[in-house]
């Protein structure tokens, strides 16, 4: 069928104004349900009729409202129509009807949204906590490691101090020679064990391929007493055991040390 032709045939006005025949009404309601265009055209005409009627309203006498309200109050809660029906009149007023399902659905949506937001929030908190924990663990490990270093150094200093306090320890100051006038080191020589310890006060930083070497002068002959690693020279450094010597001296030698001194003496001192 031609919808537009039907719409503009006057059937809509005829139906809405209530002058269509019963057959026409049934047909119109059927087509309205089938074709949204027809329903839309009906809505449009109904709205313009309503607006026109409201615009052309005539105010009725004031007492009519009270008479009406009194009449429905007197008739009470027992509407004449559909008395057999269990439905209350209130239910039939569509604009006022409460649909519990709708509220449940609305509440569910609100809860879902709230829950999603909270989940996201707590997940973020969790992530941030995990990161914090990792940081703390790393810092704690660092602290422990620093602690071990300090502990080691402390033990080293403690043992250095113990050796210096040892009454058997001979203290020999080695003083700067012309190549290193401000050079100063101290040899601690245990007269009982014959162990030799070296404490560097001031020596020039050697080139990377060179190393300081301590010599014990025994009857005018230099005897190797060990090489010095400058990185460990912050405390007493244990050198070789020297049973007998008249003096000590340090020369700068090639890395690993030499058999006999090849370079000038930096510092020296007699026992």
């Amino acid at each position: 069928m031609n919808i537009q032709e039907y719409i503009s045939s006057g059937i809509i006005e005829s139906y809405v104004l209530g002058i269509a025949s019963h057959e026409e009404q049934l047909e119109f309601e059927r087509l309205c349900a089938e074709y949204p265009e027809i329903k839309a055209a009906r809505d449009t005409f109904e709205l313009s009729l309503e607006n026109h009627s409201l615009t052309n309203a005539v105010v009725p006498p004031a007492q009519i409202k009270n008479q009406f309200l009194t009449a429905i109050k007197e008739t009470g809660a027992a509407p004449v129509v559909n008395m057999s029906s269990a439905r209350s009149i209130d239910k039939a007023v569509p604009v006022r009807k409460m649909y519990p399902g709708r509220y449940v659905a609305a509440a569910s949506i609100v809860l879902l949204v709230t829950s999603t937001v909270l989940n996201f929030y707590f997940y973020k908190q969790y992530q941030s906590s995990v990161a914090d924990l990792k940081n703390i663990i790393a810092k704690s490990e660092e602290t422990a490691s620093n602690n071990r270093v300090l502990q080691t150094k402390l033990e080293l200093y403690q043992s250095s101090l113990d050796m210096i306090k040892n009454p058997n320890m001979a203290v020999i100051a080695l003083k700067g020679e012309p190549v290193a006038p401000s050079g100063l080191t101290t040899v601690y020589w245990d007269r009982q064990s014959k162990d030799v310890y070296l404490l560097v006060s001031n020596l020039p930083q050697p080139a990377t391929d060179k190393q300081y070497q301590l010599w014990a002068i025994v009857d005018g002959v230099p005897v190797d007493a060990g090489t010095l690693d400058m990185n460990n020279a912050t405390a007493l450094v244990k050198m070789k055991n020297i049973p007998r010597a008249q003096a000590f001296a340090i020369t700068l030698e090639k890395k690993g040390g030499s058999q006999t001194p090849t370079m000038p003496i930096y510092v020296k001192g007699a026992v």
Partner: protein, 166 residues
């Protein structure tokens, strides 16, 4: 619940009584009688609100038809016909200025006003169909017209009315 009903119908009355009173007056031009019809129409709306089906149209359309049907019933009632006969003088009753009459010139309000703009052959048919509530068959008989012609003219008049309403 009763209280809520009262509030709801009180609202309906405040909002729509003027529009419905207007349509009742266009059918029953006696102001006093029209007021009674209006009050009864609202009682009917209150009673029958259950039967209102939103899928079939707007609440106002339904209320309008409740009021119109009641007004037409009143118009056709024996009591009304008798009172008319008693009152009626050869003069134009609509413009009777003497009897403290509450007859109104309703041609100037609402749909009637729009109907006045139609061609005479259309206006008569709309008046019979809408304001007097006759079926197409009855109108064909009254006007001595073929049923098909009545239907065609009424449809044509209605499409013109729509244009006036807009």
């Amino acid at each position: 619940m009763q209280k809520r009903d009262e509030q709801y119908f009180s609202y309906l009355y405040d909002h729509y009584s003027g529009a419905l009173y207007s349509i009742v007056l266009q059918i029953v031009p006696d102001a006093e009688l029209a007021s009674d019809v209006l009050q009864e129409a609202f009682v009917n709306i209150w009673r029958k609100i259950e039967s209102y089906d939103p899928t079939k149209g707007r609440l106002f359309t339904w209320m309008l038809n409740v009021a119109r049907n009641l007004a037409i019933d009143t118009l056709r009632s024996k009591a009304y016909q008798n009172s008319r006969k008693n009152q009626e003088l050869p003069d134009n009753v609509y413009f009777d200025k003497n009897g403290g009459s509450t007859q109104l010139n309703v041609d100037s309000i609402g749909l009637k006003k729009a109907v006045q703009q139609l061609k005479n052959e259309h206006r008569v048919l709309i008046d019979l169909a809408y304001f007097k509530g006759y079926t197409h068959e009855e109108i064909a008989e009254i006007e001595s017209l073929p049923l098909g012609t009545v239907k065609t003219r009424i449809r044509s008049a209605l499409t013109q009315l729509r244009a006036y309403l807009n």
